[in-house]
Amino acid sequence: MNKIYKNADEAVADIKDGAVLMLGGFGLCGIPENCIAALVKSGPKNLTCISNNAGVDDFGIGLLLQQKQLKKMIASYVGENAEFERQLLSGELEVELIPQGTLATRCMASGYGMPAIYTPAGVGTEVAVGKESRIFNDKEYLLEYAFDADFAIVKAWRGDADGNLVYKDTARNFNPLMAMAGKITIAEVEELVPSGEIDPNQVHTPGIYVHRIFQGKNYEKRIEQLTLTK
């Protein structure tokens, strides 16, 4: 068994035109920088990207937008990105907006083998249009389906040869959920350690969910809103 890949180029090499990708991260926090750069280089087109946000103009998923590699974006919030807006208004890019908790739970449902979940988010709004709803205990819920992806691409702080992952602070966000939802899950980590160095009790994503792992390099980890106490 070998899950270790040399680098991002090797890990994403078989991602082809039309693939459905999940990309971890919240804003620019905890995004798989190396894999995004490798995808810009390898250049698959007509991608569907499932990610909470769409990056900024010159970083994160914004880089894939610049290269016009995206056909569809599934996200909860897509501000902070002028090129995104341009492609959306011109009809080049399709967008599906999903409440953030629904997005997260639909990923988890996939990793937990649950075909669908019930959530009250969106009841009575345009999000509910065309969806099945049901009352439980006098409260209305929408039925939302699990979704998976051809490839889930996540970023962790540490990982080991068995594919076990540990995230750092709020860079965790969607990463463990998407890791569970990939038909093939690719994890890039800041530090790849030999199996045995991570306490089994502190593993956030068990290796069973991770198919490929590599140690990323040159992490920029850009801060979107630097806010300081004066």
């Binding site: 919240f26 501000g79 953030q100 997005l103 988890m108």
Partner: protein, 218 residues
């Protein structure tokens, strides 16, 4: 005198109770954290996956890996915990968060809220707002009483696309504190020096004014 944004936050902060877990939205709600009453402990939840949000970091201590739902650099506190987005919305959905404070474009007399989309304008998305309003048991809206055109934001029915329905319990504006009841908006308090008449004139939805309306205390 109409309240400043800081004063709106300050008034909302009076609703906080010891041991409350609270989710604060972007804008005025964020300011509520500056007015937590002395002697009580309030734990802030950030829906990107943190309980126990601390203040912004001092220069040099910021980390790209530690942000709040507004994508601002923040800090943790002793007793903080980090979790994934599914658990974060799980605890929101399960009603474990005691109070949610958020902004709005419009609130209806039924407690409906519109806050995420203006037809014809670029739509950025609902983020976690729909999950929050559909799940939280106790939601306070912090907003201006009227929009830039001077039109009331407290309406018989929302005109903008909805974020959630029948969910808002209380509204604090620069003019008043109002409760959403089954019969409409009930005026609870006036901003210091603001007349009941002014509030009536600026509230388009059904407004219940019973007896003498006290001024807010700070």
């Amino acid at each position: 005198m109409a309240l400043t944004k800081e004063q709106i936050a300050q008034r909302i902060a009076k609703e906080l109770k010891d041991g409350y877990y609270v989710n604060l939205g972007i804008g005025i709600p964020t300011l509520v954290a500056n007015y937590i009453p002395e002697g009580i402990k309030v734990i802030l939840q950030s829906e990107n996956g943190l309980l126990g949000m601390g203040p912004f970091p001092v220069a040099g201590k910021e980390s790209a890996d530690l942000i709040n739902a507004g994508k601002q650099t923040i800090t943790t506190l002793p007793g903080s915990s980090i979790f994934d987005s599914a658990m974060s919305f799980g605890m929101i959905r399960a009603g474990k968060v005691n109070l949610t404070v958020l902004g709005a474009m419009e609130v209806s007399e039924k407690g409906d809220i519109a806050s995420w989309k203006i037809p014809g304008k670029m739509v950025k998305g609902m983020g976690g707002a729909m999950d929050l309003v559909a799940s939280a048991k106790n939601i306070i809206v912090a907003m201006m009483h009227t929009n830039r055109q001077g039109e009331s934001k407290l309406l018989p029915a929302c005109t903008l696309p909805l974020t959630g329905i029948k969910c808002i319990k209380k509204i604090v504006t620069e003019l008043a504190v109002l409760e959403v009841t089954v019969n409409g908006f009930k005026l609870l308090e006036r901003a210091p020096g603001v007349t009941t008449e002014e509030i009536i004139s600026k509230t388009a939805g059904k407004l219940i004014v019973e007896g003498e309306i006290p001024e807010m205390q700070f």
